[in-house]
């Protein structure tokens, strides 16, 4: 069996601030939600290509239902879910469409 070359994995990490902007690569509306997300369903999840290059998965929030691939989005901090009986809130990133500036 031929062996594959090892990819360089960076161990030394540094702080990096993303601009929080990116574009929608793909998206879907989740109708059958997992536990912890029932109250949000239906909700949109998307693959977002950040302006700096990497791609991530996140929900699209604050939208009017009109979405398309290529839409420009920006990161916002939102409640993702609550965990356990005590309802500990998990915060994280979501994205919303970039609104035209007035």
């Amino acid at each position: 069996m031929s062996s594959l070359p090892r990819r360089d994995v960076e161990v030394q990490t540094e702080q990096f601030a993303f601009s929080g902007r990116g574009e929608i690569v793909s998206y879907t509306t989740v109708q059958e939600a997992p536990e912890g997300f029932e109250e949000q369903a239906p909700y949109v999840v998307a693959l977002v290509r950040l302006d700096e290059g990497p791609m991530i998965t996140a929900q699209i929030t604050d939208h009017d239902g009109e979405l398309a691939t290529g839409d420009q989005v920006e990161m916002v901090t939102r409640k993702l879910t609550t965990e356990g009986k005590r309802g500990m809130i998990v915060y994280g990133y979501k994205f919303r469409k970039v609104l035209p500036r007035s």
Partner: protein
């Protein structure tokens, strides 16, 4: 390494078995496989199971099932790779026998999906996604399939209806399989009418989670010819991986684990695509069928959907797939699916597939895929 053969097979009907337990289902499949061979015991039991812990609240299935099936004291443990668990267990059994360390191995796949329902099961199924970067956002496996499918449709200009022949074919074949979960036929136009699970993935697109257990018994090829009339030889066995999270892939529409494991299995078996009589692929979603055909080298990039549209995939086509209904119609007993594929391929190669028989089946390719292509385990079986 010595050559390995399948000498016995067993399966239970696939469905929602509310009236039975994981251990009883598993024992039924083990008994069926042992009844199929002139051996009374095995040396090891490898269990393919994906969600015993989160769905059935049961791990350490090796000890549980060895005891429950009367295989006292034998080597036994679980092999887990999400939906590819069955293929991983088969590969483990193959390696154990090929190495000479184990004489006779029983490979079992079992899942009891109905131990949980609704949002609880959907949540439990999420443990095999990337917990920190996918599942925490409420992403599900159907959602990941949908993200891929939309990208595919836009990049290649393919309509949703182009995928529905995968499901129609699966149900046409599954309707003739007494062990299949859904034996109804699907009509053209169904995708347009079906409810959305995660657009563009509809209810008629995704395979249903199910309960089921299947087993195969492996031994050395040398010993197999003395034991049974029709040993089925494992001439290729390979596993490969890709990123767990979909968003980490540099090329979204290329299932690299499928590509690598198919290539390795073909190389070992000394065959190419044109030698394959039938392909039991991982049709958990039609987009995975299309992309698997492309990555396994049966269709050009962007053309996998055409294989279905051109009716090449039926029992009399140039490349029959999902010959007993696949995951879509036979049902998807998650960690057992890869072993069902082995059982079904063995029936084809024995010429014992009845109404589902592919004529002159000589070489079967079976492929078990975990997640959205993160693990791919491929075997080549020969008569």
């Amino acid at each position: 390494m010595r050559d390995v053969a399948i000498i016995g097979i067993g399966q239970t009907p696939v469905g929602e078995h509310w009236d039975t337990s994981l251990r009883a289902l598993a024992a039924d499949a083990i008994r069926a496989a042992l009844d199929d061979v002139p051996v009374r015991s095995v040396d090891a039991l490898y269990v393919g199971n994906a969600y015993g812990a989160p769905i059935s609240s049961q791990s350490q299935l090796g000890a549980l099932l060895a005891d429950f099936a009367g295989l006292d004291g034998i080597e036994a443990f679980t092999v887990e790779a999400a939906e590819a668990s069955g293929g991983a267990a088969l590969r483990t059994g193959y390696l154990a026998v090929a190495s000479g360390a184990v004489e006779t191995a029983l490979v079992l796949g079992v899942e009891k999906s109905s131990d949980m329902v609704g949002t609880a099961r959907t949540g439990a199924r999420g443990v095999s996604l990337d917990a920190d970067y996918e599942a925490v956002h409420g992403v599900t496996l159907p959602a990941l399939a949908a993200l891929l499918m939309r990208r595919y449709m836009e990049d290649y200009g393919v309509e949703l209806s182009a995928f529905e022949n995968f499901s129609i074919n699966a149900h046409a074949n599954g309707s003739k399989n007494a062990n299949a979960m859904f034996r109804n036929q699907l009509k053209p136009g169904g995708f347009a009418r079906a409810p959305m699970i995660a657009d563009p993935v509809t209810l008629f697109d995704g395979a249903p989670d199910a309960d089921g257990a299947a087993a195969v018994i492996l031994t050395s090829a040398e010993r197999a010819v003395d034991l049974v009339a029709q040993p089925i030889y494992i001439s290729g066995s390979a596993a490969a991986t890709d990123t767990l999270a979909l968003h980490e892939r540099s090329d979204l529409l290329w299932l690299n684990a499928v590509h690598l494991s198919t290539q390795r299995a073909f190389q070992q078996a000394g065959i190419s695509q044109s030698d394959v009589s039938l392909f039991e692929l991982h049709d958990a979603f039609t987009i995975l069928s299309a992309l698997s055909l492309e990555a396994a080298g049966f269709a050009a990039r962007g053309e996998g959907w055409r294989t279905a549209s051109d009716s090449q995939i039926g029992l009399t086509g140039s490349l029959p797939i999902s010959t007993f209904g696949g995951l879509k119609s036979r049902g998807n007993p998650v960690g057992a699916t890869g072993v069902y594929q082995a059982v079904e391929a063995a029936l084809q190669l024995r010429g014992a597939a009845g109404a589902n028989q592919v004529e002159n089946a000589r070489v079967a390719l079976i492929q078990s895929v975990g997640g959205i292509g993160s693990t791919a385990i491929t075997h080549v079986l020969r008569a």
